[in-house]
Symmetry: C2
Subunit: 222 residues, 2 copies
Amino acid sequence: MRVLYHHLLDPGSRVVRLLLAEKGLAAELQHEEPWKRRDAFLRLNPAAEVPVLVDEDGTVVPGAAIIAEYLDERRPQPGFIGFNAVSRVEVRRLTAWFMQKFAREVADLQIEEKVVKRLAGLGFPDAATIRVANANIHYHLDYIGYLLEDRKWLAGDILSLADLAAAGQLSCVDYLGSVPWEEHPGARDWYARMKSRPSMRAVLADRLPGLRPPDYYDDPDF
Amino acid sequence: MRVLYHHLLDPGSRVVRLLLAEKGLAAELQHEEPWKRRDAFLRLNPAAEVPVLVDEDGTVVPGAAIIAEYLDERRPQPGFIGFNAVSRVEVRRLTAWFMQKFAREVADLQIEEKVVKRLAGLGFPDAATIRVANANIHYHLDYIGYLLEDRKWLAGDILSLADLAAAGQLSCVDYLGSVPWEEHPGARDWYARMKSRPSMRAVLADRLPGLRPPDYYDDPDF
């Protein structure tokens, strides 16, 4: 059985869970708190980061983008990284946008301050950092709305890894009640479609003990 | 003619230049200071980051890792991203290690403080940030030495994108005189081999006006 080492509020872990579900691949989930630097986990991934996939043949694959490339090569149908060299550029560009740029400017800041600090006993959230993240998110939600003016999904007319990347990132920030959907109807419409997918409903059903999401969090009509 | 928008002290730009040279592909270099947010450049890459490749057919490809995937698909011989799904995991894992983790923990800090602040008129380097980068680099150089104990190149017995990624990152930090080679002989031996390659010699010949590298910077016997 395939095993995915993940964390409930790690965006990359969510992206891999969404991709596995969309591809119809099963995996046993192992919850990992990577900041504890467990020896057995460090041997799997010396970078000490989730997600890590251990495939059925024992192949160890660390990192959401690398797992996605690996799964799309090993199990190409249905594919989520484009259908030729040019469409793959657009999928990978937007995947990197959300997995790296959005993560750095919004999600990592919110999660570090509101979740990791608390779980790792590192003190209280820093209000200035959270203000920066709250300011930055508008530009990303505007960009989603802009892309969807003439596309059905983020990277074109086909659901792709870019949508899963954006939904994985945004769903973690939304768990913390920090996505101003009402000001960004284009992004909200896209996210409502994402929320209706069975892959997403499973991810949104999880709860971190002691930390409740807002009531609208798993409701596709929000 | 292919065009590469790059910056002389941007690690990702160097990685793409190394890859183009190793593949024997020509490109016209356009020097870009992305923090100036030039309109024509933002239309190429709304993320406002170098490198950006504009291929001969007009295809616009932003970001070093995405350009590398694109070039390895379009011009597969010689390949630099492994020869099967498992070897590609190792190449991509180490490429991400240097392009993201090393960048975040070392190179971006040094370059932001010592180069971008100066070129963009943002004030003086922050000594505390530079101390953090100087402390972090040892762990990465140790890791290079560890990998090379039983490998010829970083991801195995074949030169790969992982070597180009590490060399592109380290060469920028080395331009600033901030790589403690003498304490890390394993990493130094590997970098000496990299420096001897024609692809690398061209990159190391460039000088940023008003900022001189150390004397040993482009010397393979250092």
